[in-house]
């Protein structure tokens, strides 16, 4: 199933541009109108006076964001396959393919936060992005791929049958930034990534997909007993995404004060590390902005956007790829500064956003193990 992307994106841009703030009479302060809809997004605020969280609306909006994000990954992997074919046919240069490779990885970045549902069921976390790779699984798997005939290398199904190290973005990166012959293997790897992307999209939005499970929350649902549970899963996923930026994407290359680990930075060969972090932050902010939206009060929302902006500002301020930055004292300080800011953002999410959504982050007997 091929996702329909343009229509969704169009609708959202129309909503963002065209809707004015709406207001109703304010029982607590007569004469001061109570705004019910955000001028900025056109989405309703926390329903005034109703005193309950509209989990149904949250789910509907979050799924719209997810559909856009998973759809973007499907689109970019299609373009990546096209770009690989064009480059290997000699009709474009390597830079065009590298640009599309970057766009594809940045489209994956937001999805890294959602390690539940189809990504978990299909094992996509490792097939798309095998990292960390301390034992050079990617290099070893690539050797298997490159030992195959050129015809086989170009086939998505052949790549899909290899170990996960050969299947993902790091495999393409290693081909691009080493002496290996990238063609025609990049055609097969890109094609397989596109199949994975379509399968993830379908796992969410196809018939009997995860979106349907979320929509049918209730006593007979095998996953979500109540509407609120999906809100909690999504909130927890965002928390996971931010934790992963702080602990893994930044923590791994930072290493210890005595010894940094430049080659433990994600995508250090291509230098995309910083952009990936930026894209993941954007993806998380998008869920807060368009998904949680009006169910979070305006003051909390404005504040969290400010902290997102500050965090993204610190990504931009690093000024060099993180793998390089961690190797000099000034650069290291800036990376640590970003890490502190991400941890602060996690804390502010817990203070400002979680309570608005009725999400309890503590112990639950139903967590399981």
């Amino acid at each position: 199933m091929t996702p329909k992307l343009t229509s969704t994106a169009l609708v959202l841009s129309l909503m963002a541009g065209g809707v004015q703030a709406q207001s109703i009479a304010n029982p607590d302060a007569p004469g001061v109108p109570l705004e019910t809809h955000s001028e900025e997004t056109g989405l309703p605020y926390f329903a005034p006076g109703r005193g309950e969280i509209d989990h149904d609306a949250i789910r509907r909006r979050v799924l719209t964001v997810f559909e856009r994000q998973f759809g973007a990954f499907a689109n970019e992997t299609q373009k990546l396959t096209d770009a690989a074919e064009a480059y290997c046919a000699g009709t474009t240069d390597i830079e065009a393919f590298k640009d599309q490779f970057r766009a594809t990885w940045l489209a994956w970045a937001p999805l890294d936060s959602y390690q539940f549902g189809p990504i978990e069921a299909q094992g996509a976390a490792l097939t798309v992005n095998f990292w960390p790779d301390k034992k050079n699984f990617v290099g070893r798997a690539l050797r298997d791929l490159l030992n195959k005939t050129p015809e086989e290398q170009a086939q998505a199904s052949v790549v899909g049958g290899l170990s996960v190290g050969a299947q993902g973005l790091p495999a393409i990166e290693m081909l691009l930034f080493s002496d290996a012959q990238e063609c025609p293997a990049i055609i097969g790897i890109s094609g397989n990534l596109h199949q994975i992307a379509l399968s993830l999209y379908d796992g969410w939005f196809g018939e009997y997909g995860w979106a349907e499970l979320a929509r049918t929350a209730g006593p007979d649902n095998p996953v979500y007993l109540q509407d609120a549970e999906f809100t909690k899963v999504v909130y927890t996923a965002l928390d996971f995404g931010l934790t992963r930026i702080a602990d893994t994407r930044l923590g791994r290359p930072l290493g210890t004060f005595e010894r940094s680990n430049p080659t433990q930075a994600e995508a250090w060969r291509s230098g995309l590390t910083n952009d990936i972090i930026h894209a993941q932050l954007d993806g998380i902010e998008e869920v807060v902005r368009d998904g949680f939206a009006g169910d979070v009060t305006e003051t909390n929302r404005s504040w969290i956007y400010k902290v997102f902006d500050q965090t993204e500002g610190r990504v931009d301020a690093i000024g060099s790829p993180i793998s390089e930055a961690v190797q000099d004292p000034m650069g290291r300080m800036r990376v640590e500064g970003l890490q502190s800011k991400v941890l602060y953002l996690i804390n502010e999410m817990d203070q400002e956003i979680g309570p608005n959504l009725g999400v309890e982050t503590g112990f639950s007997a139903a967590d399981g193990d």
């Binding site: 978990e120 503590g362 139903a366 399981g368």
Partner: protein, 359 residues
């Protein structure tokens, strides 16, 4: 490290037992369980059969299961996966005896078991960079120093129990995880759980895997009767809409047998803890996600009935029936009903109730 007879350490340490408090000196709890209270404080709690709290000892973060020393009043509280600590507590004095720190590249899975002589503690662990399942070996006679590790026989070892013959059964759930991904399962398309048997010396002596159509049914929590028959609480990792059994049993030399129950769906594809009654007549299996408990005939595995019990978590033997932790206390009974024993203190129980077998 010498693997063969690794766990056989010579005569039992009876002399040592005199020097250290016994379970009777710790108020004679019948059960151990991890619990949390409001504000996320985390505890190891000792309970009597009457539901009295004989001790509550603070632990550094959320616990999962515990292991009780066969005769000394020592309990090991394990962090919930992917935890890196386990705390050994003297349950008579409340003092921490030792803190186990998982080695580099390993984390605990939340369960463990002592050897029958009480000299060694085994812990299920994830060697996540390899990836491989390991059993860490710790010397309970020497300050719980780590002295080595052995293979668990599969990926994702979760609960392990000591069998009556001194050997062990290990539930290798098959689920590959990595701390970078917190609790996400990374290998569902290729996962392959198994039940592994080790002899008292730590040698793998038998393994059984589910058939292809049950490959996604993770073998996570187990219990055994005196004859060595193992019953299994399963966690389905496949399509959540698929109707699958969540209970299985196994006897060495045979295939796994799966048991349907008309109320299985109420467990939300997730069985938590399982126990066989002391007289062998009933099996109880909790579903903490669904707030439901299933009862099966202990001999035939046929379904008896089920009960909606909010937050039903741990289950252990109680006389010829069961004690089940649930919201607000303990339920003592079985398929035909039982008594609710309220326990104050605002505890929220973690998944397991560990029976202390007096040595």
């Amino acid at each position: 490290m010498k693997r063969r007879h690794f766990l056989i350490t010579g005569a039992a340490g009876a002399a040592m037992s005199l020097a250290r408090p016994t379970w009777a000196m710790a108020g004679a709890p019948a059960y151990l369980t991890a619990a949390s209270k409001a504000g996320n404080s985390t505890w190891l709690v000792g309970l009597t059969e009457a539901g009295d709290v004989v001790f509550e000892l603070p632990i550094p973060s959320r616990g999962h299961a515990a292991a009780a020393h066969p005769y000394r009043a020592e309990a090991v509280a394990f962090a919930r996966r992917p935890g890196r600590f386990a705390v050994v507590l003297d349950c008579a004095t409340g003092k921490e005896i030792a803190r186990l720190d998982s080695p580099e590249g390993r984390h605990f899975y939340g369960h463990g078991a002592f050897t029958a002589d009480g000299k060694l503690l085994l812990t299920t662990e994830n060697a996540y960079e390899i990836p491989a399942g390991k059993l860490g070996v710790w010397d309970a006679e020497d300050g719980y120093k780590r002295i080595g590790e052995i293979s668990s026989g599969g990926i994702g070892p979760h609960e392990m129990i000591r069998l009556n013959d001194g050997g062990f059964a290990v539930a290798n759930g098959g689920m590959q995880t990595h701390p970078d991904y917190e609790r996400a399962v990374l290998n569902i398309p290729t996962m392959q759980p198994n039940l592994t048997y080790l002899d008292a010396a730590g040698e793998i002596i038998d393994q059984v895997e589910p058939p292809t159509d049950m490959r996604l049914n993770s073998i996570r929590h187990i219990a055994a009767d005196a004859s060595g028959r193992v019953v299994i609480a399963l966690q389905w990792q496949g399509n959540p809409l698929a109707p699958v059994p969540l209970m299985a049993s196994h006897r060495r030399g045979e295939e796994l047998t799966f048991f349907n129950h008309p109320e299985t769906a109420k467990l939300k594809q997730y069985a938590g803890s399982i126990a066989i009654s002391a007289d062998g007549s009933e099996i109880a299996m909790t579903g903490p996600k669904g707030g439901h408990v299933l009862f099966f005939d202990g001999v035939t595995g046929a379904p008896i009935n089920g009960r909606a019990l909010p937050e039903a978590s741990g289950v252990a033997q109680f006389g010829d029936r069961f004690a089940i932790t649930l919201a607000g206390g303990l339920l003592e009974g079985g398929a035909d009903g039982g008594n609710m024993v309220e326990i104050g203190g605002g505890y929220s129980w973690d998944n397991h109730l560990v029976s202390i077998r007096q040595g």
